[in-house]
């Protein structure tokens, strides 16, 4: 991977890069399709019912059928809606989701871009999606969408602060913003993984991450039963699919980020087990995080908007700051 990027760019290099990009996109899209399927299955099983099991063998083609349905729907743009912003909002929402995939390392040799500021790049780009949410809410010319958009924007920006601050503790311990260096610092057994020294930061990170994804229990912006459908009320067909796509690509990115920052990336839990390929460990941990997100959605009721805000500013932010001070103190004294 390094060789491919460090040679002068000729025609083979260009096509190699394009092919790699397309391959990455295909992998992410396949993940999205099966994540939606497995989410419905897992949540169904947790509710004493099988999930989708009729379309295709074991219901595997359910998401395909849903996407096909969304694609063939009529594209409605409300008459008084701000046309340019209305069309732009889903794009602003999902483009950063795809761009952050570039910095995620999967194994010690398999990574797309070895950015020295990987963590910062991630945090910066996820903030751009908030703009898409506000634009969608405003441009729909619908009071429910506006309320949903405003609430959603408040939620997203409030939880970005504890998210980034919780990552600072990990960065301080590893000494670098580079994701590969962070993972390398967790080699050895599972006792070296960042989750143990940084358990407080991990708690804050998980809560802030679930909230950033707008998933239950923090899914007030898209709470289907409370706010009609929040900021994507007026969106039909493929534009709606873009919003859903962005959410699931962020699930992919957050799960990969959790694995890299806190769970030891591609390292085996015991050094004796390191004959198993690194990608298998990465996928196992990644799947565990994704399953936990589904599990959380099946279990928790929705949190109210004022409870959500006070949680972020009054609890998560001070805890994240205390964690940073503690980490600094321990680093100095030890």
């Amino acid at each position: 991977m390094r060789n491919l990027f460090e040679q002068p760019l000729g025609w083979p290099g260009l096509f190699g890069l394009l092919g790699l990009g397309v391959l990455m996109l295909v992998i992410v899209l396949v993940f999205v399709v099966f994540a939606i399927y497995f989410e419905r299955k897992v949540i169904g099983y947790m509710q004493f019912r099988p999930g989708p099991n009729r379309t295709g063998p074991f219901g595997l083609l359910q998401t395909t059928a849903d996407v096909l349905k969304l694609l063939i729907k009529e594209d409605i743009i409300p008459k008084k809606a701000d046309r340019a912003l209305y069309i732009l909002a889903p794009a602003i929402m999902y483009v950063p989701a795809f761009t952050v995939i570039a910095v995620l390392p999967y194994t010690s040799r398999l990574y797309l871009a070895d950015l020295n500021v990987g963590v910062l790049y991630y945090g910066a780009l996820t903030s751009i999606s908030t703009l898409g949410v506000i634009l969608g809410g405003w441009a729909s010319n619908n009071k429910y969408s506006l309320l949903g958009g405003m609430r959603s924007a408040a939620q997203l920006i409030s939880y970005e602060v504890p998210l980034i601050l919780s990552m600072v503790g990990v960065v301080m311990m590893s000494g670098s913003l580079n994701m590969r260096v962070i993972v390398e610092g967790q080699s050895g057994g599972f006792w070296h993984w960042n989750i143990f020294p940084q358990i407080i930061a991990f708690g804050v990170f998980i809560i802030a991450a679930v909230s950033e994804l707008s998933r239950s229990p923090f899914d007030l912006p898209e709470s289907e039963s409370e706010l009609v459908a929040g900021y994507h009320t007026e969106y039909t067909g493929f534009r709606f699919a873009f919003f859903m796509l962005a959410e699931y690509v962020y699930v992919y990115a957050i799960a990969a980020l959790t694995t890299v920052l806190f769970l030891g990336g591609w390292h085996a839990p015991l050094p004796a087990l390191s004959f198993i390929p690194e990608i298998v460990w990465f996928l196992l941990k990644f799947s565990g995080v994704v399953f936990f997100l589904f599990w959380l959605r099946a279990t928790m009721p929705r949190i109210r908007i004022d409870q959500l805000m006070s949680l972020a500013w009054k609890y998560l932010l001070p805890i994240a700051l205390i964690n940073i001070f503690l980490t600094a103190l321990v680093k100095e004294l030890w």
Partner: protein, 151 residues
């Protein structure tokens, strides 16, 4: 905090437990014994008293009788017997008033067809509908009627 963990435990346990969904079209649905399904008619027991047609609230039963072909026996024999299932409400009144249990109810309920004409069932169809008859009526089968058997 503990409550949250307990909640997560509950859902995880539910994940591993048996599902409650009925697998209906793939597996038949077992109905309780006194379920009021589509009727079964036994022409040998019918004495053409016309009580079922009189009591039917939607007047969906039409029947005609003919004098007994055997000149020595008295009474009538059933000639035609039709139930219009577009309006039959499966209320069980006809089986309650029948003095000879000629018309009884079964546990079958699948009547859906693509054309309304198929819903006008005649005597032959009603006689052939002899599976899943209610157990209390299955014990009163006349010896001649056991040709089709009952389940």
């Amino acid at each position: 905090m503990i409550g949250l963990a307990k909640g997560l435990g509950v859902t995880l346990k539910a994940f591993a437990s048996k599902k409650v969904t009925y697998k209906y079209p793939d597996e038949p649905l077992e109905m309780p014994d006194r379920f009021r399904g589509v009727q079964h008619f036994d022409p040998d027991k019918c004495i053409v008293c016309n009580q079922c047609a009189r009591i039917c609230p939607t007047e969906c039963i039409t029947l005609t009788g003919k004098p007994n072909p055997d000149p020595e026996k008295k009474g009538k024999v059933i000639d035609t017997f039709d139930i219009n299932f577009e309006i039959c409400i499966l209320c069980d009144l006809c089986t309650e008033v029948c003095p000879t249990e000629a018309i009884v109810m079964t546990n079958n309920f699948e009547l859906a067809t693509y054309s309304r004409d198929d819903l006008f069932k005649n005597m032959e169809w009603l006689n052939d509908n002899n599976t899943n008859i209610r157990s209390e009526n299955s014990r009163n089968l006349s010896p001649i009627a056991t040709k089709g058997g009952n389940s």
